[in-house]
């Protein structure tokens, strides 16, 4: 059991270090299967 614990701690350490290095390169939401909502590209609010 201790081998698993050591392996996990090492893995978690490496993983967390990688996460901090990754910056914005990660998306935990994964792949989307929804239909994109916005379809009115010409929409623009007039400036006040």
């Amino acid at each position: 059991m201790w081998k698993y614990i050591v392996a996990f701690v090492a893995f978690a350490g490496l993983a967390l270090w990688l996460l901090t290095k990754a910056g914005g390169d990660i998306d935990m939401g994964g792949e989307r299967h929804e239909v994109p909502a916005a379809t009115h590209a010409d929409e623009k609010a007039p400036k006040k």
Binding site: Y4, D27, R32, E34, V35
Partner: protein
Amino acid sequence: MATAIDGANRPMTAEERKVIFASSLGTVFEWYDFYLYGSLAAVIAKQFFSGLDPTSAYIFALLAFAAGFLVRPFGALVFGRLGDMIGRKYTFLITILIMGSATFIVGCLPNYASIGVAAPIILIVLRMLQGLALGGEYGGAATYVAEHSPHGRRGLYTSWIQTTATLGLFLSLIVILLTREFTGAEFDTWGWRIPFLVSIFLLAVSVWIRLSMNESPAFAKMKSEGKVSKAPLTESFGEWKNLKIVILALLGLTAGQAVVWYTGQFYALFFMTSIAKVDAKTANLLIAASLVIGTPFFIFFGWLSDKIGRKLIIMAGCLIAALSYFTLFPALLNYANPALAAAHAKSKVTVASDASSCSFQGSPIAREIDFKSSCDIAKRALAQSFIPYTNITAASGAAAVVKVGDKEITAPVAKLNAAGDGFDKESAVAIATFKKELAEAAKASGLLTKAEDKSMNMPMVLGILTILVIFVTMVYGPIAAMLVELFPTRIRYTSMSLPYHIGNGWFGGLLPTTAFAMVAATGDIFYGLWYPVIVALGTFVIGMLFVRETKDVDIYAKD
């Protein structure tokens, strides 16, 4: 079946480790792809979908939706049937070959600029093929590992499969990081292809290992005795005694497991970024860290399920999650963005509208242009910014009026353009003006305050997110073993795959859209939590009353 019985007290053998490793490779692929497509979504959209007109883009979005919601359950039937007829080993080889090849081909696929509309069509076909193969992968992995496990350790052994989500995440992360490092500015033009191309090595290793594996002892025995099912689909779903268990597995196990999983990982991320307004980078880091910290609990609960029972742990996970969500999520908001939580308590927003003109915005395939009434536009704008509001009934036919503090803003009614693929120019401008005025009023009241790192209680946020992941591990750790033990060997692959994919694809997959629609309808930013709470409680009740404990089941007894 000497290898599979009475092995509870000996350590895992090298052969068993190999079985678990080989079986888990497919789900590593699944998760590697899942996070790759998520992290590279912007690049892929630019490369393959940027030249499409709105109607074509909508059709492709519908097909992508179908890949997740329809193709996977269909794949469960196709490969489940195959697995029960020709064996686990060869079915396993086919599914991983399809998955791995499809991923690799995406890396070679010419983009829209090169081959036009053929590019997104091929991409969607590849996603469909992957969806099909995935439908057969999890059930195969669970069945194969469980049928190799000694009696009394199936929970522990199969729980390793669930840890592949974390492994797949970090594999994708490492590959993307290294590729960005080496390709620099070229990443967006051709470097993004490398993470897909390198999957060929993972595929080669997977096929090599799976080729060297033996057929599962349970299936091999059944085959040698000539007892293999000739019609697994008919046996699984055409005979009430088995169909009843399939339905119970869906409603009494996987539906609750799915919503607890989706809430703990995906809804939590959505809540952090959209409702608590934490920046995406911080939110993703915190969710990923909570997943890393929570990962050993998959194994722990798998192991524990061998001791005290699977049903007890899964049901406890559903119940505790359902009872605690309405405490944990408001606490998450308070710790992540205390200024916003204070603004919610102080600033009151109302929507006065004719209720008959308001629709329930719960269709997962709806487009923005499907919501044209004044009420829908008002509520959609508020819900998209996650501004809580109270509904007031207005006179019949009256336009919806949003009141933020003392400011009243009337929502427009929209009309479509001649082509029917967008709002007409006048409506588009009116909607944008309405949203702009609403945003200014909301901002002045502090209702759009973004979370700041210095005011965020990071340890408490991470603690709550980790608790949510631990709920996931409670329901997910023992689920594979339990599903396997519910069905006899001759129809096991078919029977367990379908409820797993319908539970996760439909009950879990519809969570984001349904929760959004519930928030939009009521104005209560926590109202969407009723969806997982009701489904998890439903699973708890059905599971407690009708699903039997399986940890002591002899999976060979009915062979």
